[in-house]
Subunit: 601 residues, 2 copies
Amino acid sequence: MDTRTSPYRARIAKTQEALARHGLAALLVPSSDPHLSEYLPEHWQGRQWLSGFTGSMGTLVVARDKAAVFADSRYWVQADAELAGSGIELVKIPTGTATHHVDWLAREAKAGETVAVDGAVLGLAAAQQLRTVLDKAGVALRTDIDLLAEIWPDRPALPAAPVYEHRAPQAPLARAAKLMQLREAMARHGATHHLVSTVDDIAWALNLRGSDVTYNPVFLAHLLVTLGGATLFVGEGKIDAALKAALAADGVALAPYGEAAAALAALPSDARVLLDPKRVTLGLRERIAVPVVEAINPSTLLKSRKSEAEAEHVREAMRQDGAAMCEFYAWFEQALGRERITELTVDEKLSAARAKRPGFVGLSFSTIAGFNANGAMPHYRATPESHAVIEGDGLLLIDSGGQYLGGTTDITRVWPIGQVTDAQRRDYTLVLKGTMALSRTKFPRGTLSPMLDAIARTPLWEQGLEYGHGTGHGVGYFLNVHEGPQTISKALPDAHMAMEPGMITSIEPGLYRPGRWGIRIENLVLNVPAGPLQGAGEFGEFLAFETLTLCPIDTRCIDRTLLRADEIGWLNGYHATVRERLLPLVDGAARDWLLARTEPI
Amino acid sequence: MDTRTSPYRARIAKTQEALARHGLAALLVPSSDPHLSEYLPEHWQGRQWLSGFTGSMGTLVVARDKAAVFADSRYWVQADAELAGSGIELVKIPTGTATHHVDWLAREAKAGETVAVDGAVLGLAAAQQLRTVLDKAGVALRTDIDLLAEIWPDRPALPAAPVYEHRAPQAPLARAAKLMQLREAMARHGATHHLVSTVDDIAWALNLRGSDVTYNPVFLAHLLVTLGGATLFVGEGKIDAALKAALAADGVALAPYGEAAAALAALPSDARVLLDPKRVTLGLRERIAVPVVEAINPSTLLKSRKSEAEAEHVREAMRQDGAAMCEFYAWFEQALGRERITELTVDEKLSAARAKRPGFVGLSFSTIAGFNANGAMPHYRATPESHAVIEGDGLLLIDSGGQYLGGTTDITRVWPIGQVTDAQRRDYTLVLKGTMALSRTKFPRGTLSPMLDAIARTPLWEQGLEYGHGTGHGVGYFLNVHEGPQTISKALPDAHMAMEPGMITSIEPGLYRPGRWGIRIENLVLNVPAGPLQGAGEFGEFLAFETLTLCPIDTRCIDRTLLRADEIGWLNGYHATVRERLLPLVDGAARDWLLARTEPI
């Protein structure tokens, strides 16, 4: 790009004019929105608009005479390319650290100066940390101004997609019952009001869904629950008259999306607000003048534990999802070598197969189809400009998932293309051993989920191998595909990560040989009672994982000499289950494929 | 005990008179000393003296008209018995919680009142927590008064045992070099002074040892390191002239033990003090008026990583310790059934066998010899009043260790007595599987030690079995047998628990059948480079455990059907090593015993 014509150079200059106008030393533009969501509506993609950097994580800081984007190693190649010509510096930060920009800000601004950030999109925890560092440097922080409003002329409007009901039978617990659960929690905390800003919590509590962002079936809103009713702050026109009446019948009134802050400021003096400091922004928190009780959102814990009725729907969604996989792979294997198949074709065909299944609503995330070297990038995404043709020899990694009315799926498989080397077989088998080891683990109820992480890594560690991402994430129920509070990873555990019956988590160890190939084998598992054991309850309640995902794990890539008899037994047992549950749903080539790929080894 | 004659009733009454005299609402008596040590000199066993409760953990609170001891489940039986007749309530708290007494205090005292605790024995972290709760309740906290001084007429004096040098070759790094390491750390933190109050840190830094408390070869002192020298605050008469001169040659001056606080108060205004908030008391912290840098004691990290020269001494100490075990067990097996052997005899004979070995200094902790039901109490200690005779059938658990000039040992073994049942064999074998699984694990350098905990538990979890204690603790080098910062347990990890080469840790899974039997199989392991692996460094540096402990693991208790071939291979390999290393040190019956007990299975 010609540096003189980069639009981002002009946008940064315009931002710096605004800084001067307001007497500010710098503007901080985080990657977040008023709901602290994983996916941001375009309206809050100010960092992307100002800098041109489109990574899903990263922070922009614009100072009077310079600007910088802070991003971790996953984004360095992309950011280098996207920032070229913009005059914006790329600051490369270690993965997992999110505070380098704070120190940078504290150095750039002089004592007595003021820096700005939009408090409406700043999480309370991030705000506290920012304040601490700036205070020490004698720098003031202004959070009551949204500079983007002045400098972004064609800023996208807020999404206006309609909100719809998640109905029985897939939503087995009625909205009124869920609100009662929240009110019970409020009573335990001595709270009269409960503010919810996270959109997955709101969607769950009200049995509502939307499509304001990609992949997560949620809608933008804030919710204020009282002991006798509730107010949903939501964009006008998104809820039709029938739904409005249904909500009113359950005591839920509507108010304009932008009025949440004013409503909080107007709370009666004897109110006491329950809120989750990790799930509310500074902008809303600062409007509350009455006492606050801080605790994790009760809905975050409640929705993590799927009921048996919900689990039954998930099992059915997994059958549909598995049948779609069979259909896709049957086509793929017969077409390979006969027609031109690229990583993009994989996404198209697989999405089309899913779209035909009953209950399908959309993808649960952007399909990752990575052939050989592309598979070695855990967050790879093929684009029309840059993607591989599936041909020759190697390994094809496909990580994909769907949103169904009865659940959310997420599955990764690796398939051999042409000839597979011994080294690939060895890597594949070691990853599979990790998936199996953790899938078979039983553990005391309440075990903090990160403590299980090492079990999946042990077979790789034994060979000096490791993967840089977590082993597993919580998964929502026709909700976010990344949905905690539990996570099987090296994250420092907290008490909310206790493993409880009904939680759904991914198990997805991997191994990445940069420039060569990548392997990841992922299933979703459900926390279930472990059943009768020798301990017979004397040592407390034990849980086991029920593997929910139903799809063959390729056996042609296996180095059988690396598997123990008990591991072969588990794999053959899994394939017998997959065959039994999927067979009624497939026919023709898909049926043949399923039978072939579920043969015992 | 006749309730009217309990001496503790009178002591509590006397405390309550003192409360009235000083206008205080309550007195808090924690189980701690000015060095926040595991073992307290009698001088600071005020809680024991006042209440009669002798458990190693527990807090006493005396209010105007009542008193309570707070203790966790390990101590309930003991505390119930010891508090009988004292009028002191036992408050049973969940294991791992240490703050119930704070809430109790906040309830008992009224707003505007004052409660007291001796700041000289209160850790900074505990103080902060206490202050937060009391502040909310409007209760003032006084920490500048030691009420015990008024009410404890025959309070034991401070220990006066001589301090001695830990010399080369067992102390391979000279004192001057260690002080330089501390000064380098001070420079990194921009500190001019470094206050050390923890006695293991001081013993390590100065290559000094003492015997002021049981088992840990340490002495009471505070150390103030400057960039050019150091002052050791230590009881007069404990350091002889020759040692004083040697210390002076390394720039270490002596000052009376009681003058540390005054020295801190007199620091020059341009001083900046490095201290560890977890390892310094409020009493000393409050005397410091100059800026403070808070960080973990550099010595805590430095001493956790044993040098190769130290590791070589530990290996030799393990040979001596193993030879003592052979001698003891050879005697035990031939004497069993011929003479009366009790749990106390085990302690005597085993200690005597250790005492004969070169380099032996003392026990590293109180021997646990528990037969059958007694073995099911992880912290059991036989007493002259209450102990079992070893006879009939069952399992004998022996957990013991020694302090040697060249290292600290800690080993648990379980031995069959008479007939062993199938259920005992199964439990024993599952615990052994846990010990072996973790012993064989390789892991990336820097892995947080608690993340490895589940690996030892997996074989037990698979059967619905669990143990209530941690899997392993760090071990000092001729220092404390419990010495961090690393710990393999469910403790919430922090960054200081990163596994680094040279660390020594115990691996000690167990299984306890209350009223029936207990099993624990414990070795000490050293973090060593994992050697050549398939990953070949591409995925970073890997560590493995070298098993240091050398003593047969009984094979007669094993249910061989529960072991995999690779596990049998590990066990036979371990026994071959034990035989090879110990054989030159034993003869006669001990030699025969070693040969028999190291036979491959």
